[in-house]
Amino acid sequence: MTKVGLFLCECGPNIAEAVDLDKVTEVIKGDKKVALIERHRLLCSEDGKKFLAESIKKNGFERIVIAACSPKQHENTFMEVMTRAGLNPYLFQMVNIREQCAWMTPDKELATQKAIRLIRAAINRINYHTPLKQKEIECSPDVLIIGAGITGIETALRTAQKNRNIYIVEKNELGGVLNRLQSLYPGMQSARELLQKKIKEIKSHPEIKVFQKSKIKEILGFFGNFIARIETEDKKEVKLNIGSIILTIGGETFVPAELPNFGYKKFENVFTADEFENSVINKENLPQTIAIVHCVGREKFGYCSKICCANSMKLARLIKEKSKNTKVFQFYKELCLPGKEYDQFYKETKEQGVEFIRYKNIEIGDHKIDYISEDEIKQSLSVDMIILSTGLVPGKDTQYFANLLNIPLDDYGFFKEEHIKLAPVSTITEGISIAGGCQGPQDLNDAVIQAGASAGRTLSSLIPGRRLQVEAKTCEIADSICVGCGVCVRVCTYGALTIDESKHISVVNEVLCRGCGNCAAACPSGAARHRHFTNQEIYQEERAMLK
């Protein structure tokens, strides 16, 4: 019989006063599964840890149960002590008799009864524990960045450092959207100059390798060990070993062809903001009156694209710069101009004689705009040219990468972040980050901030020379029981399970498995087993609790 040591912690007065530990000792003492009961005033103190380590050695305990605070508080503390004392840290169960017992049960008698039940559950369970290995894997610190718009370029510059190769793969020319822009709001600096400077920087950086006009053909592997196959500009195939990937493939501007009331492609003097800034503004003599219509597509996709209001004002200024006498109208629904520079930007735009008209409904006709104004009045305005400020939508290849890398998309089709507030550039797939327009509509500032965030996250997660610790409480599949039904494969969020077609069984990739246990609950044959939370371990807890 294995020697199990039970430790009761008083936690100063915290536990001692609310739970009758003498009674606990008296009741449990008769249990043959426990070799010895020890007690300490403050087990997590230096003195307490020493006491624990010495007691393990002196008494030759093989497994440990500690009744103290919540495992979320000190499980790791005691696992370390066990490791140092030469025991496998998983041959340990912590019983929460403080938070979920002493502190929520005012009646001492009842609290004591509950504590006894919880301790018995742990004692029942502990003999079913198996030692688990703390696994580590070799990994590559190199990074693959996909998409070389401004976000990708910034990300590359910020991840580049000695002992680390950065590869950036772009399907077209470098630069993305900025290639098509004249200037950038709110500072109105030249987009081209900024871009040229950055492109020069990455091209000359010793740690960055740039692949232009290249294609991602395949990506296999997992965090720390991805392999990417790339087809280069001259149709050669290159294989890259990388540890992590950052997706910066941007978004696209909405093309309003499917919204008939905006007259796009119907009237030759209607352009999108993108087209106007990219070419129209350069070629033509600008006409007498131009209307810029905001919020094009917003209703259809159900979100505000953040950039179009400010961008529309930028266009108004560019127009005024070129042709002072052109009259510019802004047709807006809501003005969205948050941030510290934008009140001023708006004021200055207005001062240049740009007129703002709020619309409820709009219909674009031949050289005219029919609209219903804010106060529900039908009006009409003749104009020479119309610019549609269209929103930003997910790029074409977003779905492709979502499938390839097992990243979910949000309701709008952008890459879904792991947590919108707390982990905005991570994805659920470890080792894959997102930044820039592919995560959602954003302006340059946001894109650059996200570039920095994803670079920081990537650098700190894969340090050259460091090995990667992987979850120990993963699942395992019993080959001889598994029938290859694939139920487990379908419930696993992380793509950790696959069916081995030759053997017709499920196999688990222990690096990808995060140890949620869902597969073990789903498996109809009992072949999938969740380490440290096996059926047996849980039934043993139940059995003791219901005695």
């Binding site: 609290a111 139940e542 609790m545």
Partner: protein
């Protein structure tokens, strides 16, 4: 004196939200009946319906499964699976003519100590009114 019935309820709590929420209830010294005996699992989706069945057959008066709110599961979609499984479980119980209100699913986040107390208190009251689990006397394991 009539003996009062103090129900015993197995409570499966997911590590990331509900277990933390229950801890917070304790830290905030919120008082509640000692009826719930917690079993920690990493995710509510670890709860095999057989765990629930076994608990009921072994004499648990009820079973609580608590996990993160929809959309907040630490493993993204685990709790959606849990929800389906519990619905299915109760459907089977209903078909068999057994009680379906002894198994309850609740969402409790790590910051909802008060909610944990309310769930525990109300569920305990409900089970108290219903009386002991009849399966307890009928089937032995």
């Amino acid at each position: 004196m009539e003996q009062t019935f103090n129900p015993r309820i197995i409570g499966f709590l997911c590590n990331w939200c509900s277990y933390a929420g229950a801890d917070l209830a304790g830290v905030s010294r919120l008082q509640m009946p000692p009826s719930i005996i917690p079993i920690r699992v990493m995710c509510s989706s670890r709860v095999d319906p057989l765990f629930i069945l076994t608990a009921l057959l072994r004499g648990s008066d009820a079973v609580l499964v608590a996990g993160c709110h929809p959309g907040d599961c630490h493993y993204q979609y685990g709790n959606y699976h849990t929800r389906r499984r519990i619905v299915l479980f109760n459907k089977i119980f209903e078909t068999l003519g057994l009680e379906t209100d002894r198994v309850r699913l609740a969402w409790v986040s790590a910051s909802e100590g008060g909610r944990y107390r309310d769930v525990v208190t109300q569920f305990t009251e409900h089970i108290k009114e219903k009386g002991p689990n009849p399966l307890k006397k009928e089937i032995f394991l």
